[in-house]
Subunit: 418 residues, 2 copies
């Protein structure tokens, strides 16, 4: 029984989420007796609710293959979380209606733990509503905070960007520190988990190398301890490189740089820890400093993607299709690390019930006792994830991006207001 | 008559200034009858004043060759400007003493227009003081603001970083704009000249592509006009990408994000235009926005260096040596663009008198009439400068950096206090 597939991207995009999409579309073509078209949601799950479906079969093979070189979310992503079944059954019913209308039997949801939760709920309700669907959540998040999977596609590339940028900027600062900047602060993403900040440790090759201080959301910020550490490092090395998570909090549990904006998931919108720390260092230590905030640059930096991460991203797309055609439901293809010193990995299915809404923070054993560094255990975990380069093609000096046609499927249902 | 050479790096470093150093050292080895050792100043010109001289002949050939892959200033740079001859003749005399003590007959000063000025003064005074030296200033600055030369080594790579980052981040923003961030602001360097901000225009491949607004130091910031433009762009495209120079000023001539810190050259230390604009957009337009400040990341991003820029950087190092052994004095090897549609270039000597202390801003003909964009003329000028990739070697997932021995030459003179 041949069914169409629905694929949607959810939440913050990454430099390799389109690689997952491309691999999934290509793999689907191998199961012509089971999978018809892959329809992509325009702007994520909103595309399903609004019946805004993109017909990926209209794209050329080369465009689909080129998705592995394209950062961002090519079909559009969204920050829109379906409410609980009790609160808004109407949304789930609408999803099923749209799926029915377009003969969709496979639901691939590419996102973080919020999306795993949605896919999990749809996997439960579709049976109840008499329209069974194979729901597969596919991991994606630069935050690397999904449970069960060893790591999350998107993270390795952001980590490689952060390690490379920290290394490069530290060489700059070191060379100028005698008469100019003594302290450099790089702010990276990571609202509740310090994985991205931790990745900056991969910039080091020998003792004394930057970063000298890493600040994690998992560790309460202690101003005195921090300032004394900065002073000590500048005395010892002549300069100090600090990498801070956006989500560092003080002892009252407030973000150091809290704004009153919230996104659609109810999360605070952060930014500005680096200038906060810079001002602190200027005032209290009178040390000349510079700061950078990499923001979206770090999660879209396809030009410095990790090859390992890119392969992970493609593999989860491929396995999502394989699980779906095997009739699996409510699972996620996760990355499982092999034992032994040489890094190996494989993809396995894991139940969404164990992943949905769970946030994996940095384990205590990954953070040094003083709270300003990672342990060797963390480095051993992180290092393989940034291994290998996968430079995109360049044209006219910039990465070559092929634009898709993004042809919409004709609507069959009445309009729907979100 | 064989003389040693002195080489120093000055001012803000770039991702390719070490490529110039490496090429200069390698080229010097070809003139064994004229050039003895190349001694590098530790921390720039301070190294000459303090007699802190690094013996580059102790480095392995592979280390010197690897300098083309190493960002930052490997011998140390400094923000230290020699005063005028009238104000501090003592410093110039000390330079000559150190040069005499170490049999230095060639002075290579790798920097911007301040450094060209110093080299120019030394070229004049050395004759007067009876110790003739061949002074060659070598261009280097991400600011691209040197006169006479068509462009400045370091700029093309920063420009490629900015164009690539703008492209990548814009794909991210575009994919999320329906339910999340509508405006993205990237702050780039450029205190008085908008060359780096202008380079963001190279991110575009077709009409409507980001960046949608570029802010230059050359154009007075008009809040109303700016906000109305942002609103208009968001209505039209659903999102708006803004690239702003750090040095944008209001009608009173004040930097939008002025701090009261000044560096050793008396320049204000800037930073923070992006959060300023972000806050303005939040308050006045209630549009969700994100911002990034690339700061040192943009000028140290060797991993995304322009091959053209790298070749320029090496060529000016090579020609500096050739000019010196020909007995030239008070000149700079500059980059001269050929005529015709295909980009060609060569190196020529130019007198420092025409370069010292002159700042080349964006010509009016490079900025659109509304002040928010560049013209085709600017794009035609800029495009060739970011052409070609020159990825460094990677090891363990990060660029492979070879550390130098940096062996110091034995001092012969009494200590000197700056």
């Amino acid at each position: 029984m041949k069914k169409n597939a629905f694929y949607a991207q959810s939440g913050g995009v990454t430099s390799v989420i389109n690689a997952t999409a491309g691999a999934l579309i290509l793999e689907s073509k191998k199961y012509k007796s089971k999978i018809g078209k892959v329809l992509a949601g325009k702007n994520g799950i909103l595309g399903a609710l609004r019946e805004d479906l993109i017909d990926t079969s209209k794209e050329s093979l080369s465009s689909i293959k080129n998705l592995r070189n394209t950062p961002g979310g090519v079909f559009g992503s969204c920050r829109f979380k379906l409410k609980s079944l009790a609160d808004n059954k109407r949304e789930y019913q609408r999803l099923i209606e749209v799926f029915k209308a377009h003969n969709i039997g496979y639901f691939f949801y590419n996102g973080g733990n919020d999306s795993a939760d949605t896919a999990y709920k749809v996997s439960q309700i579709s049976d109840e509503m008499g329209y069974p669907i194979n729901c597969i959540a596919i991991p994606k998040t630069v935050d690397n905070d999904l449970a069960v999977t060893d790591c999350c596609p998107g993270f390795g590339s952001a980590a490689k960007y952060i390690a490379t940028s920290t290394l490069e900027a530290s060489l700059d600062v070191a060379s100028m520190s005698e008469t100019s900047t003594k302290v450099f602060i790089l702010e990276v993403m990571g609202r509740h988990a310090g994985w991205m900040a931790a990745a900056s440790a991969l910039a080091r090759s020998s003792k004394g190398d930057a970063p000298h201080i890493i600040l994690f959301p998992e560790i309460v910020f202690n101003e005195d301890k921090f300032l004394s550490k900065v002073k000590q490092i500048v005395l010892k090395y002549g300069y100090c490189v600090i990498v801070t998570s956006e989500g560092v909090k003080n002892k009252d549990g407030h973000f150091l740089a809290e704004s009153d904006l919230k996104d659609a998931f109810g999360h605070s919108q952060l930014g500005g820890v680096a200038p906060y720390l810079a001002s602190l260092i200027s005032k209290k230590l009178s040390l000349k400093n510079h700061w950078a905030v990499s923001d979206y640059l770090q999660r879209s930096a396809r030009h410095i993607a990790s090859k390992t991460d890119l392969l992970h991203a493609e593999a989860v797309g491929v396995h999502a299709v394989r699980y779906a055609v095997k009739g699996m439901n409510g699972v996620m293809p996760i990355i499982k690390r092999g034992k032994g010193n040489n890094y190996t990995w494989k993809i396995e299915p894991a139940p969404l019930s164990k992943i949905a809404n769970v946030e994996k923070k940095l384990p205590k054993s990954y953070i040094s006792i003083d709270g300003f560094n990672v342990t060797n255990k963390a480095v051993n975990y992180l290092r393989p994830l940034i291994a290998g380069e996968a430079f995109p093609d360049f044209k006219n000096g910039i990465p070559s991006i092929k634009k898709l046609k993004l042809e919409m499927v004709k609507k069959k249902l009445p309009d729907w207001k979100v």
